[in-house]
Amino acid sequence: MVDVAAVDETFKRLQSHKGVLGIIVINADGIAIRTTFDNDLTVQYAALVSHFTVKARSAVKKLDGDNDLKFLRIRSKKHEIMIAPEFEKSHEYYLVVVQDPSKET
């Protein structure tokens, strides 16, 4: 339970930032483990972002086999999608944070 609290705490902390629209944690299969979006948006984000991330990572790795993707920021017209991936065999997760800094939370 302590760990759940730790997760919650992290979520809260991230959400306290200005203009954060939502946070999702996705596992290697593209399944959202925890989300603050509604279901539909979560599924969309999970599917699209995990694909994109895999692609981005393969690009980085193909350029240099020793290199790896560390952090991904997608700046769009309306907001920014930040993806913090972790690619380890046993536990592969992506943390997705969507932020529109011009919007007050």
Binding site: M1, V2, A6, K18, G30, V43
Partner: protein
């Protein structure tokens, strides 16, 4: 003949032959000798030929020649020659006898003709041709026609007339006689016959005196030969009528016989010739005998003789010798050399050189090439083995159970796959990014900013700093020398501007020509065609203000000079224009009418008919006469009176569109409509109640107009709605387009407000507040919503004297909704809504302003046009006491300005990029100006800076306001002080005057020259004592200078020196 040839030439002559031929002239002892030589030579030649038949006649000929020669030389030799001839040609005895027989004179006559020929060696004796067999003619054969004519068978007397030969008697023989004596065989062609003397004598004896021969009996008996030769005189040559003649002497008979023989010979020759000629003709041409002409001396042998060189002396002998040992000297060495070595060596005197004629060798080559695309047959067939595979076929998202998720989330720290751990690790990273985004503007376009900086720093090219004209439009018929009183860009089309053209006339002029129809036009200019307007909208009256419906851009309303408002519907035209742009161009006038018809098809029928019929009605005699009777009638008249179709001068293709509806005169304005504004997104009730339509509503059915009669009218454009209510479809005249709401404004002095401009706040239309400007320079802030329960409310909330002249511009700032720009006379002002004093007033300009607009993209920039044709650009952030840029665009006053509208969706940068300013002047020219980039693109934070500028102005205003009481008090005090001062000054002046008079009298005595002057001055300034002193000082100085410069006479100098 053979005998003759061999025996003829005497041995002596034979010996002569080798000597003589070369030098014929060397030894011509005598003619006859020469002739004989010739004959001998001929004879030799003939002998060589071994020809057996030199004719007798030849002999005769040679005899002739000899006789001729003899006759010329001397008779003696002739005799001798004749004797020679007798000796030589044995066969020619007859000829010889004839010549010898004393017929010399006769023969000589014939010979004389040939005398020269006889002398010539070239006239040889003709060898007689073979008489019978067709032998080849001899080489030197002379044709019969070239022979001398036959000797005549008669003699001639001195006069040349023929007379019978001596011994010949002419006689006439009757037919009986001829029969009797047997002469019937004689006739033409056979002229000679013989009669024995016995026959003749017997005839005489038998017939006695009647015998034809009777007269000649004695002569016949005396005739020395027998039988007698008688000749047929066929031509009666003697002219005595006799037909026969008879030779009574032997000599005469011999002559006749000679002639007869010769004639016979020639006949035979002719025959032979003819035969030869026939044979020759029968031969092929190549085998025909060629005639070889005998050599004729023309004197060339003399030339040859002279030209030939002959040794005249013995040749000189010379012997040249060389010793044997001197041959083959040792210094000479001969050896073989290579050809090219020799050619290139210096010993070669004849060097090879290049002849340019043979330098370039041209070769012709005939080559034919044909390009043919290779054909290839190829087929493919898809196997169809691989079925299409979509990349993702998943239709349902994967998910895991809630429990699993919870398990993952709850997985303890340090355990593999702990989410908490993962979050822990990535959290900081995310937070950094989040904070970054918070403190910087992530949506800022760095590239644009970069561009801006470049602009600011670089200074830019000429195009980027200057206002330049992009295009200009004017039309000879429609706009030349007219005033462009209003400009509107088409809201939905790029590069199309509409301009309203009005006559440059004053109101008085207009009144004076009232009643005459003068259709006015609105021209639609497309950038593609600067010559012809795309469309011409016709209006019965001049249009001073018009606007396109911002949401239904095919609708367009215009306010006319007489206060009416007209409506055009371009929806049909728009289609047509689209088609025209695509290709074929339609007809002009008819198409316009058709277009209206088609446009009407969309709307209910009754309303359609109205405008259509109106436009087709011929113009009534009094277009303005409708007055109160039927407003619709007036409208109809107005509709009909426009000249049908388009104008001439090659503008036939410019479609002219007539208005569709027109407001009722009774309910319209009564003065010129000065401004017209559409009110989008609202619905206005009869009392002016405004209900806002839903967000994004595409309806815009209302517009407001203001006119000089003090009214602001609100109209509903859905005219059809009015018609439908109860009225029959064909009740056209009952179409009364009335305003739905009317607001009456009162000016400061209690009269109708002469409204010029309207300014609504489109963002807060429902509040009903608007600004209006007037001809008297007033700025009215009013509420158009009619309060409940009041029939004649005072709509104006405030009425302020803003300008001295008419307010020509009233515009809300596109960036600050409560800021309004007003412009009139020589000044422009900024007003804040609700404020009683202008926020900012410009200084007074040199020229009267005519138009003013805000920049649509730069909050701090505004554009003003003036009477002198200049455009002023005020950048309030740059300076506010004078325009930042002043450009003279035209020599004529600029009358209107308009920026092209921008789609709301476009970004600021896009808007700035496409910004164009349309400028209309007083001569009907529309100019499209390109603005420099720094005027189009806002500077960084411009809006904010402008906001602070405005705030500063507000503060200033507040400060001024706060100081107002103190100032007023101070002013009052100052005025009082001033009054006191004035009173004191007057008193002082009186005292001074008295003193000055005394002083003047004294001075006049001291200085006579300048006294008069000084008295004048005194008269002018009686109280200026100080001046008096200064004057004296000056005079002193002047005198001193003059003395120094020697300008004064000595005594005066002395005088002045004394002073």
């Amino acid at each position: 003949m053979g005998d003759e040839a061999t025996a003829g030439p005497p041995p002596v002559e034979d010996g002569e032959v080798p000597v003589v031929p070369v030098t014929a002239s060397a030894a011509p002892d005598n003619q006859s000798g020469a002739a004989a030589d010739e004959a001998a030579a001929d004879g030799l030649a003939q002998a060589g030929d071994a020809e057996p038949a030199p004719a007798d006649a030849e002999g005769g000929d040679s005899g002739d020649a000899a006789a001729g020669a003899g006759a010329e030389a001397a008779p003696g030799p002739a005799e001798g020659d004749g004797a020679g001839g007798d000796q030589a040609p044995a066969a020619g005895a007859d000829g010889g006898e004839a010549q010898a027989g004393g017929e010399v004179a006769d023969v000589a006559e014939a010979a004389e003709e040939d005398g020269a020929a006889a002398e010539e060696p070239a006239e040889p004796a003709v060898p007689p041709p073979p008489p019978v067999e067709l032998e080849p003619l001899p080489e030197d054969y002379v044709p019969v026609k070239d022979l001398p004519p036959l000797p005549e068978a008669f003699a001639r007397n001195e006069e040349g007339k023929p007379i019978p030969l001596p011994g010949v008697e002419s006689l006439f023989l009757t037919g009986t006689t001829i029969e009797l004596v047997g002469l019937t065989g004689l006739g033409p062609g056979h002229v000679q016959g013989e009669l024995t003397r016995e026959v003749l004598l017997g005839d005489i004896q038998f017939r006695g005196a009647i015998s034809d021969f009777h007269a000649l009996k004695a002569k016949i008996q005396a005739a020395d030969y027998d039988p007698l030769l008688i000749r047929f005189n066929e031509d009666d040559v003697y002219g005595d009528g006799n037909n026969f003649e008879v030779a009574l002497t032997r000599a005469a008979a011999e002559v006749w016989r000679g002639i007869g023989e010769e004639a016979a010979r020639r006949a035979a020759l002719l025959e032979l010739e003819a035969a030869h000629a026939a044979a020759e003709r029968a031969k092929p041409r190549s085998k025909r005998a060629r005639k070889v002409k005998p050599w004729q001396s023309m004197g060339s042998e003399v030339d040859i003789e002279e030209a030939s060189v002959r040794p005249r002396r013995e040749p000189i002998r010379l012997v040249v010798q060389r010793r044997r040992r001197e041959f083959h000297q040792s210094g000479v060495k001969l050896a073989d050399k290579d050809a090219h070595e020799l050619w290139n060596s210096s010993q070669m005197e004849c060097r090879p050189f290049k002849d340019p004629n043979f330098d370039m060798r041209r070769m012709e080559q005939d080559v034919g090439v044909q390009a043919v695309a290779p054909l290839r047959d190829a087929t493919t067939q898809s196997s169809g083995a691989i079925p299409p595979r979509p990349a993702i076929t998943q239709t349902q998202p994967l998910d895991m159970g809630e429990a699993d998720k919870a398990e993952l989330l709850q997985r303890p720290r340090a355990a593999p796959g702990s989410v908490a751990d993962f979050l822990e690790r990535v959290r900081d990273q995310c937070e950094v990014a989040l904070v970054q985004n918070e403190i910087t503007n992530i949506f800022r376009d760095d590239l644009t900013a970069l561009n801006d900086e470049a602009d600011g720093g670089g200074g830019g090219s000429r195009k980027e700093t200057l206002v330049s004209e992009a295009q200009s439009f004017t039309h000879l018929t429609y706009s030349k020398n007219k005033v462009v009183s209003a400009i509107q860009w088409l809201p939905h089309r790029k590069g199309v501007v509409a301009v309203a053209c009005t006559e440059a006339q004053s109101h008085a002029e207009r009144v004076s020509r009232m009643g005459r129809t003068a259709p006015a036009h609105i021209l639609l200019w497309n950038f593609r065609d600067p010559i012809h307007p795309e469309l011409v909208l016709q209006s019965p009256w001049e249009v001073f203000s018009f606007q396109f419906n911002p949401l239904q851009p095919d609708l367009l309303t215009g306010g006319c000079y007489n206060g009416q408002v007209v409506l055009w519907d371009l929806s049909a035209e728009a289609d047509r224009l689209g088609r025209r742009a695509a290709g074929g161009s339609g007809g002009a006038g008819g198409a316009g009418v058709k277009g209206l018809d088609a446009g009407g098809g969309i709307t209910p029928a009754p309303s359609v008919k109205a405008p259509l019929d109106l436009s087709l009605t011929p113009p009534p005699s009094a277009p303005t006469g409708a007055g109160g009777g039927g407003g619709g009638g007036a409208a109809a008249a107005g509709g009909g009176d426009g000249s049908g179709g388009s104008t001439a001068d090659g503008d036939a293709h410019i479609p002219v569109v007539k208005h569709r509806f027109m407001t009722d005169t009774q309910f319209s304005h009564h003065q010129v409509v000065t401004d017209l504004q559409w009110l989008p997104g609202v619905d206005i009730s009869h009392r002016g109640k405004v209900t806002k339509l839903g967000e994004g509503s595409k309806e815009c059915n209302f517009f407001a107009t203001i006119a000089a009669d003090g009214k602001v009218l609100f109209w509903d454009v859905r005219v059809e709605k009015l018609l439908k209510k109860g009225k029959k479809a064909d009740d056209l005249l009952d179409l009364v387009w009335k305003p739905i709401h009317s607001v009456h404004l009162i000016s400061l002095i209690g009269m109708d407000l002469g409204g010029t401009r309207l300014a609504f706040d489109f963002r807060r239309l429902e509040q009903g507040m608007f600004f209006a400007g007037s001809f008297d320079g007033e700025l009215v802030y009013a509420d158009f919503i009619k309060p409940e329960g009041e029939e004649n409310p005072d709509y104006a909330k405030s009425c302020l004297q803003a300008h001295v002249g008419p307010v020509i511009a009233l515009e809300r700032s596109p960036f600050f909704e409560d800021i309004v720009l007003t412009c009139g006379d020589w000044q422009w002002q900024l007003w804040q809504e609700g404020s009683a004093t202008p926020l900012f007033q410009s200084g007074y300009a040199q020229d009267y302003y005519t138009a003013a607009v805000w920049s649509p993209t730069r909050p701090a920039v505004l554009y003003l046009a003036d009477q002198s044709g200049s455009l002023e650009v005020w950048d309030l952030l740059d300076r506010s006491h004078e325009p930042s840029i002043r450009v003279t665009l035209a020599a004529t006053p600029i009358m209107s300005l308009a920026f092209n509208p921008m789609p709301a969706a476009a970004s600021a940068a896009q808007q700035a990029a496409q910004q164009l300013l349309a400028v209309g002047d007083a001569t009907g020219v529309l100019r499209i100006m390109e603005l420099p980039r720094n005027l189009r693109r806002p500077v960084h934070n411009e809006r904010k800076l402008m906001g602070t500028w405005l705030e500063r102005q507000q503060l200033r205003l507040a400060d001024v306001g706060a100081r107002q009481p103190a100032r007023a008090a101070a002013r009052k005090e100052a005025e009082e002080r001033k009054k006191e001062a004035e009173a004191a000054a007057v008193a002082e002046a009186a005292a001074r005057e008295a003193a000055a008079k005394d002083a003047a009298a004294a001075a006049a005595a001291g200085l006579p020259p300048s006294g008069a002057d000084r008295r004048d001055r005194k008269g002018q300034h009686p109280v200026a004592e100080l001046d008096e002193k200064a004057e004296q000082e000056y005079l002193k100085l002047e005198a001193r200078f003059k003395a120094q410069l020697g300008l004064l006479p000595p005594e005066a100098n002395g005088g002045s020196g004394g002073m």
